[in-house]
């Protein structure tokens, strides 16, 4: 790992009592990834990747994560706007509750979703009785579980961007004859676009890696609800090499997310 020049020139000044644990921490975070790369069956990579089960899991993961991100954008951006702008009573409490899924163990989220949308859940029983719809253990359930866990990331990023945006631009739009909705679309949203994209990328990454809520609420049915993380976990018992290859793909996606996120934030800060 390369360190910036400033750190290197002052390196001699770091007390060993800090340097040793710092080096250990860095190794602790990086070595597992090295292990994964070392054990990757590079020669059989193509074969493993073209296995139908792998392709299926990859496709399902991408589709559900994209859909979950879309759901989060459509619902989360307005929610962020309300939290940042509207004068609603109990806004701070609402904000705290909405960010709860950030710290909630995902498996608890999965159980909670079952209690609400399961066939005998609060809402789910009516969905089933009246419309014959049963959500658990479907691809829709995967999207719901992912959106539940990932939405706070988007809401927090967009709310922060909205709070940081200069509201006087909205005043300017109003004096030019633009109503609230037009102002939101043509002025507010473009101004917070870097925040929205950063939030969407974080949201997508979180949705892609979702495990606990998905397996609890949606189960693990090949081609229907078995996303990449679930496939990795299951493959570890039957076909460790396939698990490594799947894990490598997820690692690659994460790196892409990280790079794109950095790019967004840098460009957002410089403009």
């Amino acid at each position: 790992m390369s360190s910036p020049d400033t750190v290197r020139t002052r390196g001699s000044g770091i007390p060993p009592v800090l340097l040793v644990p710092a080096a250990l921490a860095a190794a602790f975070l990086l070595l597992p990834l090295v292990g994964l790369l070392v054990r990757t069956p590079w020669s059989d990579l193509g074969t493993h990747l073209s296995e139908p089960a792998v392709l299926e899991a990859l496709r399902l993961s991408l589709v559900s994560a994209v859909l979950a991100t879309a759901v989060c954008l459509v619902l989360g951006v307005p929610l962020a706007w309300v939290l940042a702008r509207a004068e609603v009573p109990g806004r701070r409490l609402l904000r705290a509750l909405i960010t709860l899924p950030l710290v909630l163990p995902p498996v608890v989220g999965g159980v909670a979703l079952l209690m609400l949308l399961g066939r005998r859940g609060l809402v789910g029983q009516h969905l089933y009785d009246w419309f014959g719809i049963s959500l658990p253990f479907t691809t829709t359930a995967v999207v719901i579980a992912e959106a539940f866990v990932a939405m706070p990331f988007l809401v927090i990023a967009v709310e922060g961007a909205l709070r940081g945006a200069d509201r006087r631009y909205e005043d300017a739009a109003a004096t030019l004859g633009a109503g609230r909705w037009l102002t939101f679309r043509r002025v507010t949203l473009p101004l917070v676009a870097p925040g929205v994209s950063a939030g969407a990328v974080l949201c997508f990454a979180r949705a892609l890696g979702e495990f606990g809520a998905t397996i609890t609420f949606a189960g693990s049915f090949p081609g229907v609800t078995r996303t990449m993380p679930l496939a990795v976990y299951l493959a570890l018992e039957t076909d460790p090499e396939a698990a490594i290859v799947l894990a490598l793909v997820l690692l690659l996606v994460s790196v892409v997310v990280l790079v794109s996120l950095r790019g967004r934030w840098v460009s957002g800060a410089s403009s």
């Binding site: 200069d166 006087r168 631009y169 005043d171 300017a172 739009a173 109003a174 004096t175 030019l176 004859g177 633009a178 109503g179 037009l182 043509r186 002025v187 473009p190 101004l191 676009a193 403009s271």
Partner: protein, 372 residues
């Protein structure tokens, strides 16, 4: 045109009527320890400068007229249309008012080109894309920045951005144009050119215009009339020449560079509120104001001989370099504080230092006396 300084002993007691001017506003706003109480009439086509120190309520006036802030009491009428009247519950929001605004730092939308910024208001008011762009192009040509039509605001200079902001506000053809310190963000050299152009565009603009500024020169060059606001109230209202010649408050006097004393005229003298008497050339009975320029005040080391009738001794309380002269402030326990302009040579000759005793004199004929 009528303005009633301090008319609002009872809110709503006197309400401007639309017949008297295009913009008729009686503004009464109570906000966190600040009260705005302003009666304002602007005939169509008139350019009014709203002059005042920071915190006087100038921007609040603009925000109320634009519809970005609601009145507590009073009313705003533009061209006979009631825009804000809390008594009857009428409030027309900003986007449905016939009012354009140029903001202090322009607030051009950073993600739109100069052309699209100008076209924004036209599009918002229902024009098609091509039509809006064509009109916007004409406006950019009119203000002289058409070669920057495709540029984002971040790439425009201060003067260019100001012109785009003016074009954006004028393109929607408002009945009333509001300008919040439109020249404050410009450097001195750009300011001169932009100020002249702004005056020209406001002349060509048929509607009423209200420009907030704290620079008397901006007000003198651009406006037909100056309304001075202090502490949320109108303290003076008149043509630029009147305001420059006969300031009514210390603030205005300082802006236009005059000494100003309050007093009571008795025969050929004025008894000053701050103590002492002044001899004046044009006597006036009753409550009066006396103004005279610092250049007419002469300083001496000893009691001066000569014809000047106003002479007293004081102490130098301040010295400030002003272009080619030094402005000295002379205070006295029993007399008002006086500003005097002297040459740097005189400063050395008279050995002027802070705290030094000094005699001052000025002629009765240099004073201007008017009702206070």
């Amino acid at each position: 045109m009528t303005v009633h300084p301090g008319a609002g002993s009872r809110p709503g007691a006197r309400r401007a009527t639309s017949g008297e001017g295009d913009l008729a506003a009686y503004l009464w706003v109570d906000r966190e320890g600040f009260r705005l109480d302003v009666d304002l009439l602007v005939p169509g086509g008139e350019v009014v400068a709203l002059l005042g120190p920071n915190g006087a309520g100038k921007t609040t006036v603009l925000r109320v007229l634009a519809g970005l802030l609601r009145l507590t009491q009073g009313s705003v009428t533009l061209g006979g249309r009631v825009l804000d009247d809390p008594a009857s519950g009428t409030f027309v929001p900003a986007e449905r008012r016939d009012v354009g605004m140029v903001f202090q730092d322009y607030l051009l939308f950073p993600h739109l080109s100069a052309l699209d910024n100008v076209a924004f208001g036209l599009r918002a008011r229902g024009a098609g894309r091509a039509e809006a762009r064509a009109t916007a192009t004409t406006w950019l040509e009119r203000v002289g920045v058409s070669e920057h039509a495709g540029a984002r605001p971040g790439r425009l200079s201060g003067g260019q951005a100001q012109r785009v902001a003016l074009a954006r506000a004028l393109a929607t053809d408002p009945r009333l144009l509001l300008l919040d310190e439109p020249l404050a963000a410009l450097d001195a050299s750009t300011r001169l050119a932009v100020r002249g152009d702004l005056a020209r565009h406001l002349r060509a603009f048929g509607g009423s215009a209200l420009m907030v500024t704290h620079d008397p020169l901006d007000a003198m060059v651009v406006a037909d009339r100056i309304v001075v606001l202090e502490g949320g109230r109108v303290v003076q209202d008149g043509s630029p020449a009147e305001v420059a010649r006969a300031p009514r408050t210390e603030y205005v006097a300082r802006l236009v560079g005059l000494n100003l004393h309050h007093g009571r005229g008795v025969g050929e003298v004025v008894r000053l509120e701050a103590g002492g008497e002044l001899h004046v050339a044009d006597p006036l009975e009753g409550k009066v104001l006396v103004a005279y320029p610092p250049t007419s005040v002469t300083l001496h080391r000893h009691h001066p001989e000569g014809s000047a009738r106003n002479v007293w001794q004081g102490t130098v309380a301040g010295l400030e370099q002003h272009a080619h002269t030094v402005r000295a402030q002379v205070t006295s326990a029993s007399r008002p504080s006086v500003l005097a302009d002297v040459t740097p040579a005189a400063v050395a000759e008279l050995d002027l230092r802070i705290g030094a005793p000094v005699w001052l004199s000025f002629k009765a004929t240099d004073t201007h006396v008017y009702p206070g």
